[in-house]
Protein backbone atom coordinates (compact mmCIF):
# COMPACT_ATOMS: atom_id res chain seq x y z
CA UNK A 1 0.00 0.00 0.00
CA UNK A 2 1.35 3.42 -0.91
CA UNK A 3 -0.10 6.36 1.01
CA UNK A 4 0.38 9.89 -0.25
CA UNK A 5 -0.58 12.98 1.74
CA UNK A 6 -0.64 16.40 0.16
CA UNK A 7 -0.10 18.91 2.96
CA UNK A 8 2.01 18.97 6.11
CA UNK A 9 -0.05 20.65 8.79
CA UNK A 10 -2.49 19.39 11.44
CA UNK A 11 -4.67 17.23 9.14
CA UNK A 12 -1.60 15.63 7.56
CA UNK A 13 -0.06 14.88 10.96
CA UNK A 14 -3.38 13.44 12.14
CA UNK A 15 -3.47 11.23 9.06
CA UNK A 16 0.06 9.92 9.64
CA UNK A 17 -0.83 9.05 13.22
CA UNK A 18 -4.15 7.55 12.10
CA UNK A 19 -2.53 5.39 9.42
CA UNK A 20 0.11 4.18 11.86
CA UNK A 21 -2.56 3.00 14.33
CA UNK A 22 -3.39 0.28 11.82
CA UNK A 23 -0.52 -0.03 9.39
CA UNK A 24 3.04 0.13 10.68
CA UNK A 25 4.77 -0.83 7.47
CA UNK A 26 3.46 0.75 4.27
CA UNK A 27 5.17 3.82 2.89
CA UNK A 28 3.77 7.29 3.56
CA UNK A 29 4.84 10.26 1.45
CA UNK A 30 4.08 13.82 2.49
CA UNK A 31 4.25 16.45 -0.24
CA UNK A 32 3.85 20.07 0.78
CA UNK A 33 4.39 23.46 -0.71
CA UNK A 34 5.76 25.02 2.46
CA UNK A 35 9.41 24.09 3.03
CA UNK A 36 9.21 23.79 6.82
CA UNK A 37 9.01 20.85 9.22
CA UNK A 38 5.41 20.58 10.42
CA UNK A 39 4.63 23.57 12.63
CA UNK A 40 1.71 24.82 14.67
CA UNK A 41 0.23 27.43 12.37
CA UNK A 42 -1.83 29.25 15.04
CA UNK A 43 1.44 30.04 16.84
CA UNK A 44 2.85 32.36 14.19
CA UNK A 45 1.49 35.35 16.12
CA UNK A 46 3.40 34.13 19.19
CA UNK A 47 6.53 33.92 17.04
CA UNK A 48 5.93 37.50 15.94
CA UNK A 49 5.54 38.73 19.52
CA UNK A 50 8.61 36.78 20.63
CA UNK A 51 6.65 34.64 23.08
CA UNK A 52 7.60 31.46 21.19
CA UNK A 53 10.88 30.70 19.40
CA UNK A 54 10.99 29.09 15.96
CA UNK A 55 12.16 25.82 17.54
CA UNK A 56 9.08 25.70 19.76
CA UNK A 57 6.78 26.20 16.81
CA UNK A 58 7.22 22.53 15.90
CA UNK A 59 3.83 20.77 16.01
CA UNK A 60 5.60 17.42 16.30
CA UNK A 61 9.20 16.60 17.37
CA UNK A 62 12.11 16.71 14.90
CA UNK A 63 12.11 12.91 14.55
CA UNK A 64 8.40 12.76 13.62
CA UNK A 65 8.98 11.74 9.99
CA UNK A 66 11.68 9.19 10.88
CA UNK A 67 9.73 7.58 13.71
CA UNK A 68 6.64 7.27 11.52
CA UNK A 69 8.56 6.18 8.42
CA UNK A 70 7.34 9.14 6.41
CA UNK A 71 9.13 10.44 3.33
CA UNK A 72 8.72 14.23 3.40
CA UNK A 73 8.90 16.07 0.07
CA UNK A 74 8.77 19.68 1.25
CA UNK A 75 8.84 22.89 -0.76
CA UNK A 76 7.18 21.12 -3.68
CA UNK A 77 3.84 22.17 -5.13
CA UNK A 78 1.33 19.68 -6.44
CA UNK A 79 -0.11 21.04 -9.68
CA UNK A 80 -2.90 18.53 -10.23
CA UNK A 81 -4.40 15.22 -9.26
CA UNK A 82 -5.26 12.61 -11.89
CA UNK A 83 -7.58 10.29 -10.00
CA UNK A 84 -8.24 8.04 -13.03
CA UNK A 85 -4.59 6.99 -13.10
CA UNK A 86 -4.03 7.48 -9.35
CA UNK A 87 -1.21 9.87 -10.03
CA UNK A 88 -0.30 13.38 -8.93
CA UNK A 89 1.77 15.90 -10.84
CA UNK A 90 4.38 18.13 -9.20
CA UNK A 91 5.72 21.54 -10.20
CA UNK A 92 9.23 20.13 -10.62
CA UNK A 93 7.94 18.01 -13.51
CA UNK A 94 7.86 14.77 -11.52
CA UNK A 95 4.90 12.49 -10.86
CA UNK A 96 3.98 10.41 -7.85
CA UNK A 97 1.63 7.41 -7.88
CA UNK A 98 -0.63 6.56 -4.96
CA UNK A 99 -2.89 3.79 -3.75
CA UNK A 100 -4.65 6.01 -1.19
CA UNK A 101 -4.45 9.78 -1.31
CA UNK A 102 -5.25 12.42 1.30
CA UNK A 103 -5.74 16.00 0.25
CA UNK A 104 -4.87 18.17 3.22
CA UNK A 105 -3.77 21.30 1.42
CA UNK A 106 -5.46 23.65 3.90
CA UNK A 107 -6.43 27.19 3.07
CA UNK A 108 -4.83 30.50 2.23
CA UNK A 109 -5.60 34.17 2.79
CA UNK A 110 -8.36 35.43 0.54
CA UNK A 111 -7.31 37.74 -2.19
CA UNK A 112 -8.55 41.22 -1.43
CA UNK A 113 -9.55 43.43 -4.32
CA UNK A 114 -8.61 46.79 -2.92
CA UNK A 115 -6.29 49.25 -4.67
CA UNK A 116 -2.80 49.25 -3.22
CA UNK A 117 -2.79 45.74 -1.78
CA UNK A 118 0.19 44.92 -4.01
CA UNK A 119 2.45 47.51 -2.38
CA UNK A 120 5.65 46.04 -0.95
CA UNK A 121 4.90 46.56 2.74
CA UNK A 122 1.44 45.01 2.67
CA UNK A 123 2.04 41.71 4.46
CA UNK A 124 -0.10 38.61 4.41
CA UNK A 125 -0.11 36.80 7.74
CA UNK A 126 -0.82 33.16 7.29
CA UNK A 127 2.37 31.11 7.07
CA UNK A 128 5.61 30.84 9.01
CA UNK A 129 7.37 32.54 6.11
CA UNK A 130 4.84 35.41 6.27
CA UNK A 131 5.54 35.83 9.98
CA UNK A 132 9.32 35.75 9.50
CA UNK A 133 9.19 38.41 6.77
CA UNK A 134 7.04 40.65 8.93
CA UNK A 135 9.27 40.02 11.95
CA UNK A 136 12.32 41.28 10.03
CA UNK A 137 10.48 44.41 8.96
CA UNK A 138 9.33 45.49 12.42
CA UNK A 139 10.95 48.37 14.28
CA UNK A 140 9.67 49.71 17.61
CA UNK A 141 7.21 52.60 17.43
CA UNK A 142 6.17 51.91 13.88
CA UNK A 143 2.48 52.29 13.06
CA UNK A 144 0.50 49.40 11.64
CA UNK A 145 -2.93 48.92 10.12
CA UNK A 146 -4.39 45.42 10.29
CA UNK A 147 -7.18 44.57 7.85
CA UNK A 148 -9.56 41.86 9.04
CA UNK A 149 -11.68 40.88 12.00
CA UNK A 150 -10.99 37.18 12.45
CA UNK A 151 -8.71 35.34 14.84
CA UNK A 152 -5.68 35.76 12.58
CA UNK A 153 -6.13 39.52 12.34
CA UNK A 154 -6.70 39.99 16.07
CA UNK A 155 -3.83 37.69 17.08
CA UNK A 156 -1.57 39.63 14.70
CA UNK A 157 -2.70 42.87 16.34
CA UNK A 158 -2.05 41.45 19.81
CA UNK A 159 1.49 40.50 18.78
CA UNK A 160 2.17 43.89 17.18
CA UNK A 161 1.04 45.75 20.31
CA UNK A 162 3.38 43.52 22.35
CA UNK A 163 6.19 44.69 20.02
CA UNK A 164 5.34 48.34 20.79
CA UNK A 165 3.79 48.93 17.37
CA UNK A 166 0.91 51.37 17.33
CA UNK A 167 -1.81 49.22 15.80
CA UNK A 168 -5.20 49.96 14.29
CA UNK A 169 -7.49 47.11 13.25
CA UNK A 170 -10.04 47.98 10.56
CA UNK A 171 -13.19 45.92 11.06
CA UNK A 172 -15.93 45.98 8.44
CA UNK A 173 -18.79 44.73 10.60
CA UNK A 174 -18.03 42.84 13.79
CA UNK A 175 -15.05 40.99 15.23
CA UNK A 176 -14.97 37.16 15.36
CA UNK A 177 -18.40 36.73 13.77
CA UNK A 178 -18.18 32.95 13.62
CA UNK A 179 -17.04 32.71 17.20
CA UNK A 180 -18.83 35.37 19.29
CA UNK A 181 -22.24 36.98 19.50
CA UNK A 182 -22.51 40.80 19.52
CA UNK A 183 -22.48 41.07 23.33
CA UNK A 184 -19.34 38.97 23.75
CA UNK A 185 -17.71 40.77 20.83
CA UNK A 186 -18.40 44.12 22.54
CA UNK A 187 -16.68 42.84 25.70
CA UNK A 188 -13.62 41.80 23.72
CA UNK A 189 -13.53 45.10 21.83
CA UNK A 190 -13.52 46.97 25.15
CA UNK A 191 -10.77 44.70 26.47
CA UNK A 192 -8.60 45.12 23.38
CA UNK A 193 -9.02 48.90 23.49
CA UNK A 194 -7.98 48.91 27.16
CA UNK A 195 -4.92 46.91 26.21
CA UNK A 196 -3.86 49.50 23.64
CA UNK A 197 -5.27 48.18 20.36
CA UNK A 198 -7.15 50.75 18.30
CA UNK A 199 -10.20 49.33 16.54
CA UNK A 200 -11.96 51.12 13.71
CA UNK A 201 -15.25 49.18 13.75
CA UNK A 202 -17.81 49.49 10.98
CA UNK A 203 -15.26 50.83 8.53
CA UNK A 204 -14.70 49.78 4.96
CA UNK A 205 -11.22 50.10 3.46
CA UNK A 206 -11.25 52.11 0.25
CA UNK A 207 -7.61 52.09 -0.71
CA UNK A 208 -4.09 51.45 0.52
CA UNK A 209 -2.20 54.63 -0.39
CA UNK A 210 1.45 54.93 -1.40
CA UNK A 211 3.76 54.82 -4.42
CA UNK A 212 5.94 51.76 -3.82
CA UNK A 213 5.28 51.31 -0.14
CA UNK A 214 2.04 51.76 1.74
CA UNK A 215 1.94 55.07 3.61
CA UNK A 216 -1.67 55.21 4.73
CA UNK A 217 -4.97 53.40 4.53
CA UNK A 218 -7.96 55.35 3.29
CA UNK A 219 -11.35 54.38 4.65
CA UNK A 220 -14.69 54.66 2.88
CA UNK A 221 -15.66 57.69 4.99
CA UNK A 222 -12.65 59.54 3.55
CA UNK A 223 -10.49 59.46 6.69
CA UNK A 224 -6.95 58.14 6.48
CA UNK A 225 -4.83 56.06 8.83
CA UNK A 226 -1.12 56.77 8.37
CA UNK A 227 1.02 53.64 8.66
CA UNK A 228 4.46 52.13 8.15
CA UNK A 229 2.99 48.83 6.98
CA UNK A 230 -0.28 46.93 6.52
CA UNK A 231 -1.17 43.40 7.60
CA UNK A 232 -3.82 41.75 5.47
CA UNK A 233 -5.92 39.01 7.12
CA UNK A 234 -9.37 39.28 5.58
CA UNK A 235 -10.64 35.73 5.48
CA UNK A 236 -9.44 32.48 3.98
CA UNK A 237 -10.25 30.22 1.04
CA UNK A 238 -9.71 26.48 0.63
CA UNK A 239 -6.75 25.30 -1.48
CA UNK A 240 -8.91 23.06 -3.66
CA UNK A 241 -7.66 23.93 -7.14
CA UNK A 242 -5.50 20.81 -7.57
CA UNK A 243 -8.61 18.64 -7.96
CA UNK A 244 -10.28 20.85 -10.57
CA UNK A 245 -9.38 18.41 -13.37
CA UNK A 246 -11.12 15.53 -11.56
CA UNK A 247 -14.80 14.71 -11.23
CA UNK A 248 -14.58 15.25 -7.46
CA UNK A 249 -17.54 17.02 -5.85
CA UNK A 250 -16.48 20.42 -4.60
CA UNK A 251 -18.37 23.24 -2.93
CA UNK A 252 -16.62 25.78 -0.65
CA UNK A 253 -14.25 22.93 0.08
CA UNK A 254 -13.88 19.37 -1.15
CA UNK A 255 -17.04 17.52 -0.11
CA UNK A 256 -16.42 14.53 2.15
CA UNK A 257 -18.63 12.03 3.95
CA UNK A 258 -18.42 11.11 7.63
CA UNK A 259 -15.48 8.84 6.86
CA UNK A 260 -13.66 11.74 5.17
CA UNK A 261 -13.94 10.06 1.77
CA UNK A 262 -14.34 12.33 -1.25
CA UNK A 263 -16.68 11.41 -4.10
CA UNK A 264 -13.69 9.80 -5.87
CA UNK A 265 -12.49 6.32 -4.84
CA UNK A 266 -9.37 6.10 -2.67
CA UNK A 267 -9.13 9.87 -2.28
CA UNK A 268 -9.76 11.45 1.12
CA UNK A 269 -9.75 15.07 2.23
CA UNK A 270 -9.32 16.61 5.70
CA UNK A 271 -8.70 19.96 7.35
CA UNK A 272 -9.42 23.44 5.99
CA UNK A 273 -9.72 22.14 2.42
CA UNK A 274 -12.48 19.68 3.36
CA UNK A 275 -16.19 20.35 3.70
CA UNK A 276 -17.38 17.67 6.10
CA UNK A 277 -20.29 17.15 8.46
CA UNK A 278 -20.97 19.41 11.42
CA UNK A 279 -22.42 17.37 14.31
CA UNK A 280 -24.54 20.29 15.53
CA UNK A 281 -26.31 21.23 12.31
CA UNK A 282 -25.99 17.96 10.42
CA UNK A 283 -24.95 20.02 7.40
CA UNK A 284 -21.63 19.98 5.60
CA UNK A 285 -19.42 23.02 5.98
CA UNK A 286 -15.77 23.96 6.14
CA UNK A 287 -14.77 24.25 9.82
CA UNK A 288 -11.33 25.83 9.55
CA UNK A 289 -9.96 25.18 13.03
CA UNK A 290 -6.99 23.10 14.09
CA UNK A 291 -8.76 20.59 16.37
CA UNK A 292 -11.16 19.64 13.57
CA UNK A 293 -8.28 19.42 11.07
CA UNK A 294 -6.36 17.04 13.30
CA UNK A 295 -9.40 14.90 14.14
CA UNK A 296 -10.51 14.69 10.50
CA UNK A 297 -6.95 13.80 9.50
CA UNK A 298 -6.74 11.05 12.08
CA UNK A 299 -10.05 9.51 11.01
CA UNK A 300 -9.09 9.83 7.32
CA UNK A 301 -5.78 8.11 8.09
CA UNK A 302 -7.44 5.23 9.90
CA UNK A 303 -9.88 4.77 7.03
CA UNK A 304 -7.11 4.97 4.42
CA UNK A 305 -5.62 2.01 6.28
CA UNK A 306 -8.86 0.03 6.06
CA UNK A 307 -10.93 1.20 9.03
CA UNK A 308 -14.49 2.58 8.82
CA UNK A 309 -14.32 5.27 11.49
CA UNK A 310 -16.74 8.20 11.36
CA UNK A 311 -16.34 11.78 12.53
CA UNK A 312 -18.50 14.86 12.67
CA UNK A 313 -16.85 18.12 13.64
CA UNK A 314 -18.05 21.11 15.60
CA UNK A 315 -17.19 24.77 15.52
CA UNK A 316 -15.21 25.31 18.72
CA UNK A 317 -12.81 28.08 19.56
CA UNK A 318 -10.70 28.78 22.60
CA UNK A 319 -8.51 31.80 22.69
CA UNK A 320 -6.93 34.16 25.14
CA UNK A 321 -6.47 37.81 24.18
CA UNK A 322 -4.12 39.83 26.37
CA UNK A 323 -5.23 37.85 29.42
CA UNK A 324 -8.95 37.52 28.58
CA UNK A 325 -9.94 33.87 27.96
CA UNK A 326 -12.90 33.09 25.70
CA UNK A 327 -14.34 29.75 24.63
CA UNK A 328 -17.33 29.10 22.40
CA UNK A 329 -18.77 26.08 20.60
CA UNK A 330 -21.76 25.02 18.53
CA UNK A 331 -24.68 27.33 17.81
CA UNK A 332 -24.02 30.83 19.10
CA UNK A 333 -27.22 32.66 18.26
CA UNK A 334 -30.18 30.33 18.40
CA UNK A 335 -33.31 30.46 16.32
CA UNK A 336 -37.05 30.69 16.95
CA UNK A 337 -38.07 28.14 19.57
CA UNK A 338 -34.60 27.84 21.04
CA UNK A 339 -34.12 28.47 24.71
CA UNK A 340 -31.36 30.97 25.34
CA UNK A 341 -29.90 31.85 28.71
CA UNK A 342 -27.47 34.70 29.17
CA UNK A 343 -25.69 35.69 32.35
CA UNK A 344 -23.60 38.84 32.17
CA UNK A 345 -21.69 40.02 35.22
CA UNK A 346 -20.35 43.47 34.51
CA UNK A 347 -18.29 43.63 37.71
CA UNK A 348 -16.29 40.48 37.09
CA UNK A 349 -16.30 40.83 33.30
CA UNK A 350 -17.86 37.38 32.89
CA UNK A 351 -20.35 36.40 30.22
CA UNK A 352 -22.07 33.06 29.80
CA UNK A 353 -24.54 32.16 27.10
CA UNK A 354 -26.18 28.77 26.63
CA UNK A 355 -28.34 27.79 23.66
CA UNK A 356 -30.76 24.86 24.12
CA UNK A 357 -32.99 23.16 21.59
CA UNK A 358 -35.25 20.15 22.22
CA UNK A 359 -33.79 19.60 25.70
CA UNK A 360 -30.28 19.42 24.24
CA UNK A 361 -27.45 21.90 24.65
CA UNK A 362 -26.58 23.16 21.17
CA UNK A 363 -24.06 25.91 21.83
CA UNK A 364 -22.33 28.15 24.36
CA UNK A 365 -20.15 31.23 24.75
CA UNK A 366 -18.00 31.77 27.84
CA UNK A 367 -15.99 34.93 28.48
CA UNK A 368 -13.49 35.18 31.32
CA UNK A 369 -14.90 32.25 33.30
CA UNK A 370 -14.07 29.33 30.99
CA UNK A 371 -13.20 26.54 33.40
CA UNK A 372 -14.53 23.07 32.54
CA UNK A 373 -15.99 24.27 29.24
CA UNK A 374 -15.24 20.89 27.70
CA UNK A 375 -18.08 19.32 29.66
CA UNK A 376 -20.45 21.60 27.72
CA UNK A 377 -18.72 20.67 24.46
CA UNK A 378 -19.26 17.01 25.35
CA UNK A 379 -22.96 17.57 26.10
CA UNK A 380 -23.36 19.12 22.64
CA UNK A 381 -21.31 16.50 20.79
CA UNK A 382 -23.02 13.52 22.43
CA UNK A 383 -26.47 15.09 22.12
CA UNK A 384 -27.14 14.40 25.83
CA UNK A 385 -30.70 14.93 27.07
CA UNK A 386 -30.25 17.70 29.65
CA UNK A 387 -33.86 17.95 30.87
CA UNK A 388 -33.14 16.47 34.32
CA UNK A 389 -30.26 18.86 35.10
CA UNK A 390 -30.79 21.88 32.86
CA UNK A 391 -31.40 24.16 35.84
CA UNK A 392 -27.89 23.42 37.15
CA UNK A 393 -26.38 24.31 33.78
CA UNK A 394 -28.27 27.58 33.75
CA UNK A 395 -27.38 28.61 37.31
CA UNK A 396 -23.77 27.47 36.86
CA UNK A 397 -23.74 24.84 39.62
CA UNK A 398 -23.56 21.90 37.24
CA UNK A 399 -21.17 19.05 38.00
CA UNK A 400 -20.85 15.43 36.85
CA UNK A 401 -22.89 14.46 39.92
CA UNK A 402 -25.92 16.09 38.27
CA UNK A 403 -25.87 13.66 35.35
CA UNK A 404 -28.42 10.82 35.38
CA UNK A 405 -26.77 7.76 36.88
CA UNK A 406 -26.78 5.72 33.66
CA UNK A 407 -25.13 8.53 31.67
CA UNK A 408 -22.60 9.09 34.46
CA UNK A 409 -21.69 5.44 34.82
CA UNK A 410 -21.25 4.97 31.09
CA UNK A 411 -19.02 8.02 30.93
CA UNK A 412 -16.91 7.15 33.99
CA UNK A 413 -16.54 3.40 33.58
Amino acid sequence: MKYVIIGNSAAAVGAVEGIRMRDQESSITIIAQEPHHTYARPLISYLLSGKVSKERLAYRPDNFYTVNKVMPMLGIKVTRVDSDHKRIYLDDGKQVDYDRLLIATGSRSSEVKIAGMDLQNVFPFYTLTDAQLLQKYLRPHMQAVVLGAGLTALKAAEALVAKKIKTTVVVRSRILRTFLDPAAADMLVAHLRNAGVTLAVGQEVKEVMGKEAAEAVMLADGSTLPCDFVVSAMGIVANKEIVSATSMQVDHGILVDEQLRTSVADVFAAGDVAQGYDCVTGQRRVIPILPVAYAQGEVAGRNMAGDHAAYRGMGMNAVSFLGLPIISAGLLHGEDGDEIHVVEEKASGCYRKLVFRDQRLRGYILVNQVDRAGILTWLIRENVDVSSFKASLIDGTFSYAHLPINVRQRQLS
Binding site: Y59, L290, P291, A318, V370, A373, I375, Y400, A401, Q411
Partner: protein
Protein backbone atom coordinates in the same frame (compact mmCIF):
# COMPACT_ATOMS: atom_id res chain seq x y z
CA UNK B 1 -0.67 0.58 33.02
CA UNK B 2 -2.40 1.90 36.09
CA UNK B 3 -5.40 4.20 36.36
CA UNK B 4 -7.34 5.90 39.11
CA UNK B 5 -10.75 4.29 39.47
CA UNK B 6 -13.66 6.09 41.07
CA UNK B 7 -15.72 4.22 43.68
CA UNK B 8 -18.66 6.56 43.95
CA UNK B 9 -20.45 4.51 46.64
CA UNK B 10 -17.63 5.07 49.18
CA UNK B 11 -17.03 8.82 48.74
CA UNK B 12 -18.16 11.05 51.61
CA UNK B 13 -17.01 14.31 50.03
CA UNK B 14 -14.32 15.03 52.65
CA UNK B 15 -12.12 16.70 49.99
CA UNK B 16 -8.90 15.24 51.37
CA UNK B 17 -8.09 14.19 47.79
CA UNK B 18 -8.22 17.84 46.69
CA UNK B 19 -6.10 18.95 49.64
CA UNK B 20 -3.40 16.33 49.12
CA UNK B 21 -3.39 17.04 45.39
CA UNK B 22 -2.72 20.70 46.11
CA UNK B 23 0.14 19.80 48.49
CA UNK B 24 1.61 17.31 46.03
CA UNK B 25 1.88 20.05 43.40
CA UNK B 26 3.18 22.83 45.65
CA UNK B 27 6.80 23.83 46.08
CA UNK B 28 6.53 22.37 49.60
CA UNK B 29 5.88 18.97 48.13
CA UNK B 30 3.50 16.83 50.24
CA UNK B 31 3.76 19.26 53.18
CA UNK B 32 0.18 20.30 53.93
CA UNK B 33 0.91 22.91 56.59
CA UNK B 34 3.64 24.72 54.66
CA UNK B 35 1.64 24.52 51.43
CA UNK B 36 -1.42 26.09 52.98
CA UNK B 37 0.44 28.62 55.16
CA UNK B 38 3.35 29.71 53.02
CA UNK B 39 2.82 28.96 49.33
CA UNK B 40 2.50 32.35 47.61
CA UNK B 41 0.32 31.06 44.77
CA UNK B 42 -1.34 27.90 45.94
CA UNK B 43 -1.68 25.27 43.18
CA UNK B 44 -5.15 24.32 42.07
CA UNK B 45 -6.34 20.77 42.71
CA UNK B 46 -6.19 18.53 39.64
CA UNK B 47 -9.01 16.47 41.08
CA UNK B 48 -12.42 17.80 42.10
CA UNK B 49 -15.25 16.53 44.23
CA UNK B 50 -18.44 16.49 42.19
CA UNK B 51 -21.50 17.03 44.36
CA UNK B 52 -25.25 17.17 43.88
CA UNK B 53 -27.70 16.32 46.64
CA UNK B 54 -26.74 12.97 48.13
CA UNK B 55 -24.29 12.17 45.34
CA UNK B 56 -20.59 12.90 45.56
CA UNK B 57 -17.40 11.48 44.08
CA UNK B 58 -13.92 12.58 43.11
CA UNK B 59 -13.22 13.15 39.43
CA UNK B 60 -9.62 13.12 38.15
CA UNK B 61 -8.37 12.96 34.53
CA UNK B 62 -9.38 9.63 32.97
CA UNK B 63 -6.14 9.45 30.90
CA UNK B 64 -8.42 8.76 27.90
CA UNK B 65 -7.30 6.29 25.23
CA UNK B 66 -8.55 8.64 22.53
CA UNK B 67 -7.94 11.89 24.34
CA UNK B 68 -9.84 14.91 23.07
CA UNK B 69 -7.32 17.27 24.70
CA UNK B 70 -4.39 15.70 22.82
CA UNK B 71 -6.18 15.86 19.48
CA UNK B 72 -7.29 19.44 20.03
CA UNK B 73 -3.97 20.85 21.30
CA UNK B 74 -2.81 23.53 18.86
CA UNK B 75 0.88 23.37 19.81
CA UNK B 76 1.43 19.63 20.22
CA UNK B 77 2.31 20.16 23.89
CA UNK B 78 -0.48 17.90 25.19
CA UNK B 79 0.61 14.34 24.59
CA UNK B 80 -0.15 10.78 25.55
CA UNK B 81 2.83 8.75 26.68
CA UNK B 82 2.88 5.64 24.45
CA UNK B 83 4.32 3.48 27.24
CA UNK B 84 2.42 4.54 30.34
CA UNK B 85 -0.70 5.83 28.59
CA UNK B 86 -0.61 8.93 30.76
CA UNK B 87 -1.72 12.21 29.19
CA UNK B 88 0.65 15.06 30.04
CA UNK B 89 1.22 18.67 29.04
CA UNK B 90 4.70 20.01 28.23
CA UNK B 91 4.93 23.28 30.22
CA UNK B 92 7.68 24.55 27.89
CA UNK B 93 5.41 24.44 24.87
CA UNK B 94 1.93 25.25 26.22
CA UNK B 95 0.80 28.76 25.21
CA UNK B 96 -2.27 28.80 27.47
CA UNK B 97 -4.81 29.04 24.63
CA UNK B 98 -7.21 26.77 26.61
CA UNK B 99 -8.27 24.66 23.63
CA UNK B 100 -7.70 21.59 25.84
CA UNK B 101 -10.15 23.03 28.36
CA UNK B 102 -12.71 23.48 25.57
CA UNK B 103 -12.15 19.85 24.56
CA UNK B 104 -11.88 17.83 27.80
CA UNK B 105 -15.23 16.08 28.45
CA UNK B 106 -14.44 15.73 32.17
CA UNK B 107 -13.38 19.28 32.95
CA UNK B 108 -10.13 17.79 34.25
CA UNK B 109 -7.72 20.44 32.98
CA UNK B 110 -7.16 23.58 35.04
CA UNK B 111 -5.60 26.98 34.44
CA UNK B 112 -2.64 27.61 36.67
CA UNK B 113 0.03 30.23 37.35
CA UNK B 114 -0.12 33.74 38.75
CA UNK B 115 -1.80 34.95 35.59
CA UNK B 116 -3.21 31.55 34.60
CA UNK B 117 -0.47 30.89 32.07
CA UNK B 118 -0.40 27.13 31.95
CA UNK B 119 -2.82 24.24 31.49
CA UNK B 120 -2.21 21.59 34.15
CA UNK B 121 -3.75 18.22 34.87
CA UNK B 122 -3.42 15.04 36.88
CA UNK B 123 0.08 13.57 36.49
CA UNK B 124 -0.62 10.52 38.68
CA UNK B 125 2.09 11.90 41.06
CA UNK B 126 4.71 9.71 39.37
CA UNK B 127 2.59 6.56 39.75
CA UNK B 128 2.03 7.38 43.39
CA UNK B 129 -1.22 9.37 43.38
CA UNK B 130 -1.59 11.25 46.64
CA UNK B 131 -5.37 11.51 46.27
CA UNK B 132 -5.64 7.72 46.31
CA UNK B 133 -3.11 7.23 49.12
CA UNK B 134 -4.88 9.72 51.40
CA UNK B 135 -8.47 8.76 50.63
CA UNK B 136 -9.74 7.44 53.98
CA UNK B 137 -12.55 5.41 52.40
CA UNK B 138 -10.89 3.82 49.40
CA UNK B 139 -13.28 5.78 47.24
CA UNK B 140 -10.35 6.12 44.83
CA UNK B 141 -8.20 3.16 43.90
CA UNK B 142 -5.12 2.91 41.72
CA UNK B 143 -5.18 -0.27 39.71
CA UNK B 144 -4.02 -1.94 36.55
CA UNK B 145 -6.21 -1.64 33.50
CA UNK B 146 -5.78 -2.73 29.93
CA UNK B 147 -6.58 -0.09 27.38
CA UNK B 148 -8.44 -1.20 24.31
CA UNK B 149 -6.60 -0.54 21.10
CA UNK B 150 -3.57 0.50 23.06
CA UNK B 151 -0.41 1.30 21.18
CA UNK B 152 2.05 0.73 24.03
Amino acid sequence: MKRIRIKEQYCIGCRLCEIHCIAAHSTYKYDLIRTFKHEATRPKPRIVIEEAGETCFALPCRQCTEAHCVRACITGSMKKDPQSGMVFNDPERCVACWTCIAACPYGAIVREGTHSKLAVKCDLCGDNPQCVIHCPNEALVFEDVTEEGDMG
